[in-house]
Amino acid sequence: MSTTSQKHRDFVGEPMGDKSVTSLSGIGEILGKKLEQQGFDKAYVVLGQFLLLKKDSEMFSEWLKDASGANSRQAGSCSQCLTEWCDAFL
């Protein structure tokens, strides 16, 4: 997790605005679709869940794995990207 992807940097670099859930690092087409089906269509809805869990990366990763079937790497990448976004913009 020391090196970050371009997607991560893009997301963390600016307010998320209306970005779709797939703009989150670690969330691709397939995971994005699964999340959309559960009502998590925008990145900010996922952020809402992240905040509900009090920014607890561990809990959030667990939730993401449960909800979308993400693996540990994907879940970790997504929670790190949200953590950093919160540090910058919240």
Partner: protein, 165 residues
């Protein structure tokens, strides 16, 4: 122990009891917290320590306390009155208070049993026999105390009639 049936508030309370930091319990977070709580409960299956537990501990302490220092008092009442006076007197002053308590505590105990009969059944039996013995001891102790008081008074009156008003 089905967490699924508990209300959000109950769940939140349980989480706090197990020392799990948590946010609001809503539809999207509930399942996660149920899981976490379940794990915590498996690791430490001691459910909410009930108040009667401390009650029993107190009772046990009381019992040993009383039986422990009554026999010596009874045996040596007349042997060294002046020396014993210092530590024997406060004890005797406490005892009448305790003596009036047993009936109350017994009724309390039976009430507890009807509420949670499983664990405490054996304790009650031993407690009853112990209480019988304790009552006997208390009776004897009170008698001894009365005699001791009378004795002290007589001795003090002989030595220093103005010491006691």
């Amino acid at each position: 122990m089905s967490l699924r049936e508990k209300s959000d508030e109950e769940l939140s309370k349980l989480l706090s009891e197990y020392g799990i930091k948590h946010g609001p319990i809503v539809d999207s977070t509930r399942k996660l917290y149920e899981k976490k709580l379940e794990k915590a409960m498996e690791d430490a299956p001691v459910e909410v320590p009930s108040p009667d537990k401390t009650f029993y501990r107190e009772e046990a302490e009381e019992v040993t306390y009383i039986t422990y220092h009554h026999s010596p008092v009874r045996q040596e009442v007349y042997s060294d009155g002046v020396k014993r006076r210092g530590n024997a007197e406060p004890d005797e002053e406490e005892e009448p208070v305790q003596y009036t308590e047993p009936p109350v505590q017994i009724s309390k105990r039976t009430a507890n049993h009807s509420a949670a009969p499983g664990i405490k059944e054996p304790k009650r039996e031993s407690g009853c026999s112990v209480w019988k013995g304790v009552r006997l001891l208390l009776l004897l102790a009170v008698l001894a105390a009365a005699l001791y008081y009378a004795y002290c008074r007589v001795v003090n009156n002989e030595e220093d009639p103005f010491g006691i008003q």
